[in-house]
């Protein structure tokens, strides 16, 4: 159960890092290219810490724990536990930054809660990751405001990005049985309690960005049948095919 929760944390980082990595060499300007992939590397670093701990927990539970690489490269989409939001395609830069902001704003709140987890390993990793995430959310919120309150065209694209991604935000706050048990044990963060602070930050940033908060409240995956349960959009399989092809073709490949 703890293993499953750690995978959720790790997979969010890995999959979003992979998406951000797709901007390498294609950023709108050189500086953004470096900045976006920097954020990706931060998330990848966090994912490694979560995977390492997940592997130890798995070993404790079953006697055989998988390594970081095995977890990253040798699971299929049904085995991944990331949020549907982070696997959505990059689209244009407004799509990427909207996805990033909606995630970052949740991520800082989550990590802040996890710092006080009764599990010392989780608390330690969260404290380290929080410093990185605080920078991420400053940066992505800044882009939401710049594009939202920019030109007519940039506003149109940012609003379209928010409207398209909004239905994937509900899943971040949906607590299933796995999380409930761990919340009661003081180990996991109560994601449902993050919704109000998340929403008030989002309202403030969207207000400054002159963006409308979508009113459609139907949420994809929030009914306990989403990314956290291993039920993904079609986009994840394509992402994994690209990410995993090398180690699956040459399992012993080394740099």
């Amino acid at each position: 159960m703890l293993f499953d929760y750690l995978l959720r944390l790790a997979d969010n980082g890995l999959i979003l890092a992979q998406r951000l990595g797709e901007w390498v060499g294609r950023g709108p300007v050189l500086e953004e290219d470096i900045a976006s992939t920097n954020v990706g590397l931060d998330l990848l670093g966090q994912a490694r810490l979560w995977y390492a701990y997940a592997g130890e927990v798995e070993a404790r539970d079953t006697g055989a724990g998988r390594s970081e690489d095995e977890l990253a490269y040798f699971r299929d989409s049904g085995g991944f536990r990331n949020l549907l939001l982070v696997e959505q395609p990059n689209g244009n830069y407004a799509d990427t930054m909207a996805r990033q902001y909606l995630f970052d704003q949740w991520h800082v709140l989550l990590l802040d809660e996890l710092r006080t987890s009764r599990d010392q390993r989780i608390a330690g990793i969260a404290a380290k990751a929080l410093k990185e995430a605080q920078y991420h959310v400053q940066r992505s919120a800044d882009w939401v405001v710049r594009l939202g309150d920019g030109t007519e065209e940039s506003h149109r694209r940012m609003q379209a990005a928010i409207d398209a991604l909004w239905m994937y935000t509900g899943e971040m706050f949906a607590v299933d049985a796995t999380e409930r048990t761990l919340i009661d044990a003081g180990i996991a963060a109560d994601a449902a309690a993050l919704q109000a602070p998340w929403r008030s930050s989002v309202d403030a940033v969207f207000g400054e960005a002159t963006l409308a908060v979508p009113t459609d409240d139907w949420m994809q995956g929030a009914g306990m049948r989403g990314g956290k349960q291993g039920i993904h959009t079609e986009h994840l399989s394509h992402l994994l095919a690209e990410m995993q092809v090398l180690p699956r073709t040459y399992p012993q490949a080394r740099w």
Partner: protein, 94 residues
């Protein structure tokens, strides 16, 4: 897009340095983003604890053609260097 963004000069104060040193330049629409970009481009390897940015257009430089009148007159004035003071032996580390 970058053609419309002005150029900024970046100065970083390192862990042990007392002064900010020029490290390079980058493009950004305003000072806030210039600092953020500088953080990502120039401090990824733990290089600094403080960043300054200044619009490149606001920096005025001496002309290379003025080198002789600006700097050569000081060449033959060795008495301006503090090399003519006798050093007492008791004073170490000078």
């Amino acid at each position: 897009m970058s053609a419309e963004w002005p150029l900024w000069e970046v100065f970083i104060r390192s862990q042990h340095g007392l002064a900010h040193k020029h490290v390079g330049s980058l493009h950004a629409p305003d000072a806030e983003m210039a600092i953020r970009n500088a953080r990502d481009v120039y401090t990824r390897r733990n290089e600094g604890i403080s960043i300054w940015v200044a619009r490149s257009a606001d920096i005025h430089a001496s002309s290379p053609g003025d080198r002789a009148p600006l700097f050569e007159p000081s060449n033959d004035k060795v008495y301006r260097h503090p090399t003519f003071f006798p050093m007492p032996d008791e004073v170490k580390h000078l």
